[in-house]
């Protein structure tokens, strides 16, 4: 018995000594499937979870923005394509050639070569990766060169290349990759069988080339250790990464308040945010989340009940816009977001200026829809509506203006938004009946036109981070929000007052290489978006990245540093890039 006690004390002492010897772990929070569901195959659900950006790497990390060079911040003057597994590239209209880094090894010690990149993108074909909409073929002339050959020239080559990480080593997955037929859809043989086999493959732990290797995963913690053979091991000053499992935001707030995290990004209420920011060294960066919320109008010939549709009338939509205090709405539903209060350009509010859509340009060229209920009342009066004795606007037949406004039941911020809109419009004199629908039927129902007013996404550039994607959402006939409102149901007018084919303009923007031409097209489309007011944007989502400076980690970029734009779509991409690029390090 005493021997056991002595042993235990000695072991604890050893642990304490090891800890004091300077082992430094970065601590974050993320989600994953706990054992026995966890496995290391990124192809199947439950595969990798929060280890993703620590274990895997892309060819390049792309910092979004116009031009080729990062203008400011910790990466000022650098190419927007920050090298990782690729060291350089040749970008031509026909092909994008990536020259790979040599002396890179996978976590199991096998060398990394072009075949691994090929294997990854072949599996990407099975998973319908967006790059395959542009890709004709992928060639590997030698072990360290990969040629991405385009179907037609695309200005988004860099984004597409940087969008995906290299996940599947050829020496493990090659036997399946060799069987994939790139000429048939993934749902047909032989690809269907390959997909099925891949989904059932469970190698326990992910094997990557990244700076950290997965050591252990439990239901509550994930432990990653520094990969000693990592190609930039000398720059990574952390001995490992501890990830605390993110079951819900409340729990992560607790971790932050308890000082357990070096960085975390839960959406947080204002009062909790203030409490967290009281911790020594705690800061809050709020980069864009590459998307925003809008109120969408149904533009179809009739409303779902067969009644004539007043939303087809531009002045009617404008009246609604003037009647809603968008600043109040944004504050109520998503306080940490960036309110969109004056215009409706269809662009990300935080990034539009860098693409030429500046405040000055908007003031000179666009209709301003800032909150003005009197203007709203004038517009309705012009359209023949009048206020009834009960304060509710009536049409010429004496019917009250009354509409339903639907949102996704699972989006709590949208639920708050529809209540706020209903309350504001009721005060103005329009009755709004808020309604929530389960997520499983929400999108299909609104895309089928089964709504009067609804909540939608706007200016989304998920995975792309370019105004083309933002504008495509609403102005291209295949864009998701465009389908919801049905832009084909009305004439969208250009500056000359004539109908304009916005789909063609968006396609043109997606095909032009000339930056000046891109800017001109973006301005034109922003004008069309604003003046036709197909939707009313009111807030841009921002990610709340809490991080502690000078406590365990130091060197974090300034809060307005564009480097934070690496966060959307992969917060840990920020952290790993900061480590690999020697931006952050442990406090000495």
């Amino acid at each position: 018995m005493w021997r056991s006690v002595v042993k235990a004390v000695a072991f604890i002492g050893l642990l304490a000594f090891a800890a004091s010897a300077g082992e430094v772990y970065f601590q974050g929070a993320a989600d994953w499937e706990p054992p026995p569901l966890y496995h290391g195959n990124a192809f199947a659900p439950g595969g990798v979870g929060g280890a993703w950006w620590w274990v895997y790497e892309p060819l390049f990390v792309y910092l979004p923005g116009p031009g080729d060079t990062i203008p400011s911040g910790v990466f000022a003057g650098r190419d927007r394509m920050i090298p990782r597994l690729g060291v350089s590239y040749d970008d031509t209209p026909e092909a994008f050639v990536v020259h790979l880094r040599r002396n890179v090894v996978w976590h199991d010690g096998m060398p990394f070569t072009a075949k691994d990149v090929w294997c990854t993108f072949v599996f990407g074909y099975l998973k319908n990766w967006a790059i395959w909409n542009y890709l004709e073929a992928i060639e590997i002339p030698d072990d360290y060169t990969v040629v991405f050959r385009w179907k037609s020239p695309t200005p988004f080559a860099k984004l597409l290349i940087a969008q995906n990480v290299i996940l599947w080593p050829y020496h493990i997955y090659g036997k399946w990759a060799e069987r994939v037929d790139l000429n048939v859809p993934s749902s047909e043989e032989p690809n269907k069988t390959v997909t099925e086999e891949l989904l059932n493959f469970k190698p326990e732990k992910p094997i990557g080339t990244g700076p950290f290797m997965l050591k252990e995963v439990t239901a509550s913690d994930m432990l990653l250790l520094k990969f000693p053979d990592y190609w930039a091991a000398d720059k990574v000053d952390f001995d490992g990464v501890k990830i605390l499992r993110w079951t819900n935001n409340y729990v992560v707030w607790g971790y932050l308040l308890g000082g357990e995290l070096d960085a975390g990004h839960p959406a947080t209420r204002r009062d909790i945010t203030e409490a967290i920011l009281n911790l020594p060294g705690m800061r809050l960066a709020t980069p864009t989340d590459l998307g925003g919320f809008c109120l969408a109008f149904n533009l179809r010939e009739t409303l779902p009940d067969g009644e004539p549709n007043p939303f087809r009338e531009l002045k009617f939509r404008q009246a609604i816009a003037y009647a809603i205090d968008r600043a109040e709405l944004a504050e109520a539903c998503y306080w940490a977001g960036l309110p969109i209060t004056d215009y409706a350009t269809g662009l990300l509010e935080s990034m539009r200026a860098s693409w030429g859509v500046t405040d000055e340009w908007m003031a000179a060229n666009l209709t301003n829809y800032s909150y003005d209920p009197e203007k709203a009342a004038r517009l309705l009066t012009e359209l023949g509506y009048k206020k009834g004795p009960d304060g509710i606007w009536e049409d010429s037949q004496g019917n009250d203006l009354k509409f339903s406004l639907v949102c996704h039941a699972g989006y709590s911020d949208w639920v708050i938004a529809i209540d706020d809109i209903a309350s504001q419009l009721k005060e103005f004199g329009i009755i709004i009946e808020p309604e929530t629908r389960p997520g499983s039927i929400y999108w299909t129902s609104i895309r089928a036109g089964n709504f009067e007013l609804c909540m939608e996404w706007t200016a989304t550039s998920w995975g792309f981070a370019h105004p083309w994607a933002e504008l495509r959402r609403t102005l291209h006939k295949d864009g998701d929000t465009a389908k919801t409102v049905d832009i084909t149901a009305i004439d969208i007018l250009g500056p000359d007052g004539q109908p304009v084919d916005t789909t063609a303009l968006v396609d043109e923007l997606g095909a032009t290489f000339d930056l000046e031409n891109q800017v001109e097209l973006i301005k034109s489309l922003a004008w069309i978006h604003n003046e036709n007011l197909l939707v009313l944007p009111f807030v841009e989502k921002r990610i709340m990245i809490f991080h502690r400076e000078g406590v365990r980690v130091t060197g974090w970029p300034a809060l307005d540093d564009p480097a934070w734009l690496l966060a959307p779509g992969g917060i840990e991409r920020c952290y790993t890039t900061f480590m690999v690029e020697d931006v952050i390090e442990p406090v000495k």
Partner: protein
């Protein structure tokens, strides 16, 4: 013996009917299991919704157009082989998931149940015996308060106070990462340290209910002649309380305890989520959130079967404990 066989047969039949109803209900739950993942793909990969939906459907291998009768046949076939189901999302056997999760839930919940039951019985007896003492309103008020408070609030408060502020207990998990599970003092100590707050949450939530139930039962026993006779015989209070009052009052609570043991197989979604505890509750929440029909059916059936069996055992035990009760033919 005949009665036992009959009762067991009825229990098995009930389980079979429950399995069938569970299957029908789960399969008709509104919603689409593929949807959530499709939306995730839209937001991470830049795919449009239709493409993302197709990809997700293929990844899950789920065919919403497969006839219900065919799905039922597969389900029954698996059940007859002792297989509770197959998670379509994780492509894993539900039995395998339960084997990993159940021990943790059973560990925490059984300790909590025994603790809360024992405490509740003692408190209930005391407040029934001394009805005008200060303890009566305190316990009754506490029981009403905990009954009105969701269990996750208690869990959250304990987490904030003892784990985050005082740092006496770990905030999460079943044991420290890096520790190798084994039957040794260090591991057992670590597990108990991690289980302390979940156990406390369960116990604090349940003890008031048991105390009130015991009080109710004890108050009715207090009016019995044999209590009066015991008092008249001049027996000591302690003996009357323990041997006459508590022993007879506890009997009606046995059924409740047995059913609670059966119900523990479902774990507690919220408490386990807050403490990141790897029990059944977490998997239940995942199955419900992701509409994983296979996992939902398996977990529901396990919980229902456990409750029915516990109920059967309670009946049998009750008959043994109380000679006045005989199993009916």
């Amino acid at each position: 013996m005949k009665i036992l066989i009959k009762r067991t047969g009825v229990a098995l039949l009930t389980i079979a009917v429950a399995a069938f109803i569970t299957f029908i209900v789960v399969q008709n739950v509104p919603g689409d299991p593929i949807y959530e993942w499709a939306m995730e793909l839209v937001q991470t990969s830049g795919l449009d919704f239709e493409t993302a939906y197709k990809v997700a459907a293929q990844m899950y291998g789920y065919d919403p157009n497969e006839p219900l009768i065919h799905r039922l046949a597969v389900y029954v076939k698996r059940l007859l082989r002792g297989n509770l189901g197959y998670s379509m999302i994780y492509r894993a056997s539900v039995n395998e998931i339960i084997a990993k999760a159940l021990p943790w839930t059973a560990f925490v919940v059984s300790i909590s149940l025994l603790l809360s039951f024992s405490l509740g019985v003692v408190l209930g007896t005391v407040i029934a015996w001394k009805r005008r003492s200060f303890l009566d309103p305190v316990v009754t008020g506490y029981a009403s308060f905990t009954a009105a408070t969701p269990d996750y609030v208690t869990a959250m408060l304990l987490l904030l106070f003892f784990a985050i502020n005082l740092k006496w207990f770990p905030t999460r998990g079943a044991y420290d990462v890096g520790l190798t599970p084994g039957f040794n003092l260090r591991f057992i100590g670590n597990v108990l340290h991690h289980a302390a707050l979940p156990i406390l949450s369960f116990t604090l939530e349940a003890v008031g209910g048991w105390a009130l139930a015991m009080k109710g039962s004890a108050v009715s026993v207090l009016g019995e002649d044999y209590i009066m006779a015991a008092k008249a015989r001049g027996l000591k209070d302690r003996r009357i309380v323990v041997s006459y009052l508590a022993r007879n009052s506890i009997l009606p609570l046995i059924t409740g305890l047995a059913i609670s043991f059966g119900g523990m197989f479902g774990g507690s979604i919220l408490i386990e989520t807050i403490f990141n505890y790897p029990g059944m509750g977490w998997f239940f929440s995942q199955a419900l959130t992701r509409k994983d029909y296979g996992m939902m059916q398996g977990l529901f059936l396990l919980t229902i079967a456990a409750t029915i069996i516990a109920n059967l055992l309670a009946d049998l035990i009750y008959a043994r404990l109380d000679p006045r009760v005989r199993l009916e033919r």
